[in-house]
Symmetry: C2
Subunit: 343 residues, 2 copies
DNA sequence: TTGTACGCGTTATCAA
DNA sequence: TTGATAACGCGTACAA
């Protein structure tokens, strides 16, 4: 026997609302999705029933029927890196107001895990995908291409984007940092990096090339570790660099600001004068870099805006605007601060 | 005319795979979801077809039919606050390995927005929900209760949890910080805070109570702003506090580490000796606090573990383990460092 | 403006 | 172990 208790265990459906409001199911559907197509009177009547019952539409049924998921998949390598969460904020803010849900996955910097995660995302029939960088597995690229879902690859400029692409040249930024240091008169420039993603690799290649172009060797002046980046690791790497260069290094390019802060704090403890005896340069320009003493030279990128733009690129595509550029260079800016100037 | 091209535009379905493998749809379904119920031979045959076609199941159809979404909803106030992303990592790591997808929403610290977001989450038929704190709207609480979805409220201990709850007492932590400062001999203790969420409020109440219990007044010793927290704002608030106390303040309890770093960096620029002339104490114990010079006293909480535990509480519930505790006190620890000791 | 019939892709149920 | 059939809850297409 079917009893229509208000707080029954059964899930509320369109039909329950329809019965309560004395209309048909499709009318309730319209009140929710295309209210302008329902007369004022009925709309209110139905809305009242919806509120009274506390009805919440079943998104699965809706998506299945309409083949519209209103879901955007996002894949980032790490949740604990402000670089990615900054971009995420931009994505969320745009997607949220545009009525899209964001399904976020964390790949832990592993292409294999990323492939698994992207399978997960695809099984949700996302209308768009925002993924980080270009080092996906071959299988993953195939899946993405076959899916025909709009994809934006973010964070770096790629040689062969799958579809759309927004980022900047990490290679050039690395090159420019070294150039800046040399212009400031530093001559023995070291490089420290922790677990390197493809973007960190690019920065390092830019670093090497700049030194080579200046006729310098980087032998013994690069110290890395497979550990993840942190302030602690930055301090350790810095000490290693000092050791491997017999203390002759006079500038350190740190592949990110966490490492740079670690190097700076460590040099403070060692009574090394920054920038007098040593220049330090970071990457990403997190807030602390601007306020620490001495303030830290770093490479600034508009990450939030990158997220916003990536989201907009997806939305434009979904709205049929096919004339938009598929590749966007966000650029970057070297913020010259005390740690590498005023020598 | 229906043609079965391999790279047709039509989406692949179970049936396409079934046809390719020469079995029925339900068998393909079983290969994917309950492989042990299919004979070895058929399983391989079907798996080959799946791989060849690059079939990806439609999660909406699956969820609709099984009324299992394998989705967990998570609601946090901010994506740009490491406090929440730390917890998130724990949630993602556990949920990921348990085969759940995480639908994450950002409420921007607004209960109204949160209500909207939680509606969104509920429309995805989540099997569990992890939400931040207890200041949801009345309507939101009703929705949650009606939904009968397992809910864990995180970050703080609540008087009346909706369901499950994990966190710690921010009030007590605030009280303890002040006690610590007084034990170290500081007597004129100030408090600075930016836009305060309920947890920051609790810390402030603990601060006030501790001063009152010591027979002290906090008049003029509290400076706040509705802006969001940042290092920059920390510096500003610190200067305001100096002004409002005529420079007599000898210790500052900052409601979080960002503000504390701002206060510290600012006092360095003003040549104020920390901890000699001034103690600084933060909250959350982010990594920088441990490494900055002088190192910063702060309140440490195992946020990652909190996320892990919250996820496990949901999963236990889903697995029918009803005997688990519904409230978990994560506790906290005051990390006494240079900024408030060695006076 | 409102309603009817049907299909979306999968799984539960039951039967073979 | 495998398969046929009927849901799942909603939206589309079309009709009234």
């Amino acid at each position: 026997m079917k009893v229509a208790k208000q707080s029954s265990d059964k899930k509320l459906t369109l039909i329950d609302v329809a019965v309560a409001a004395g209309v048909s199911a499709i009318t309730v559907s319209r009140v929710i999705n295309q209210p302008e197509k329902v007369s004022e009177a009925l709309r209110q009547q139905v809305q009242k029933a919806i509120d009274m019952l506390g009805y919440i539409p079943n998104q699965y049924a809706s998506s299945l029927a309409s083949s519209k998921s209103k879901v955007i998949g996002v894949s980032i390598p790490s949740l604990s890196n402000v670089v990615f969460t900054d971009v995420l904020r931009g994505v969320y803010d745009v997607m949220g107001t545009a009525g899209y849900k964001v399904l976020l996955v964390d790949t832990h910097y592993s292409p294999l895990e990323e492939e698994k995660m992207i399978r997960t995302l695809l099984s949700q029939s996302p209308e768009g995908l925002i993924i980080t960088g270009g080092d996906q597995t071959r299988t993953c690229h195939n899946l993405l291409q076959k899916s025909r879902v709009p994809v934006v690859q973010i964070m770096e400029l790629l040689n062969e984007p799958l579809d759309m692409n927004i980022g900047f040249s990490h290679w050039q930024a690395g090159y420019d940092v070294v150039t800046h240091l040399m212009e400031e008169g530093y001559e023995r420039i070291g490089f420290i990096a922790a677990r390197m993603d493809p973007r960190a690799q690019q920065r390092m290649l830019g670093f090497k090339k700049a030194l080579e172009n200046a006729g310098k060797s980087w032998k013994n002046f690069i110290v890395t570790t497979p550990e993840p980046s942190s302030i602690a690791v930055g301090g350790e790497l810095f000490k290693s660099l000092l050791a491997s260069t017999d203390g002759t290094v006079d500038a350190v390019f740190c592949v990110n600001d966490d490492l740079a802060l670690g190097a700076l704090f460590e040099s403070q403890r060692m009574n090394i004068n920054v920038p007098g005896d040593l220049a330090i340069c970071g990457f990403n320009d997190i807030e602390a870099s601007r306020f620490v003493n001495p303030s830290l030279t770093s490479v600034q990128v508009n990450r939030y805006e990158m997220g916003v733009k990536a989201a907009e690129m997806i939305i434009d595509r979904l709205n049929g605007k096919m004339d938009q550029p598929k590749v966007v260079d966000m650029g970057y800016q070297i913020k010259r601060r005390q740690s590498s100037t005023n020598r």
